[in-house]
Subunit: 95 residues, 2 copies
């Protein structure tokens, strides 16, 4: 659980920095974090979950329609998670 | 391009319906749409793009920090798109 908390904290801090500054460094950080997530087999819908959690921590007054819209996006991404899992299995079989 | 427009329109309408009603039918629709996207080889970052576009059409006054946060999410999802593409290639090689 410690790793997960670190991820949330990393994601939230990087997101906050990007929203405030929008510099190349934040985008590079996002790319590195993303590659680490893939390496750790974090499915794409979990990224949406992380994003929802980070946003609600950074902006507790986020409009309700946006929370709902993120739930919808999460639902859409679940099928991608299934496809991603299939990919991991296929890759493990080949290695 | 016609297919893409239909997708945007479908996505936007389904998202709007979900935000307003939040019923099981919208979630079922999201699942079906998601499966169709995967079948059409639409990468996950393109879903984030679709979501940004649909949101800005439905809510032109969306707060700036949320637009930036979605750009960040898009950046994170690009590596997943690369992994997804790798999966498609692997699957094609096996079939």
């Amino acid at each position: 659980m410690e790793t997960l908390n670190t991820d949330i904290s990393n994601y939230r801090n990087l997101l906050k920095h990007y929203i405030e500054i929008r510099d190349e460094q934040s985008l590079y950080g996002a790319e590195q974090l993303s590659k680490a997530f893939i390496k750790d087999n974090v499915p794409p819908e979990e990224i949406i979950n992380l994003h929802i959690q980070a946003l609600s921590e950074l902006y507790p007054d986020i409009p309700e329609y946006l929370q709902y819209s993120m739930n919808f996006l999460l639902e859409i991404m679940i099928s991608y998670g299934v496809a991603h899992q299939e990919f991991q299995t296929l890759r493990e079989e080949q290695s």
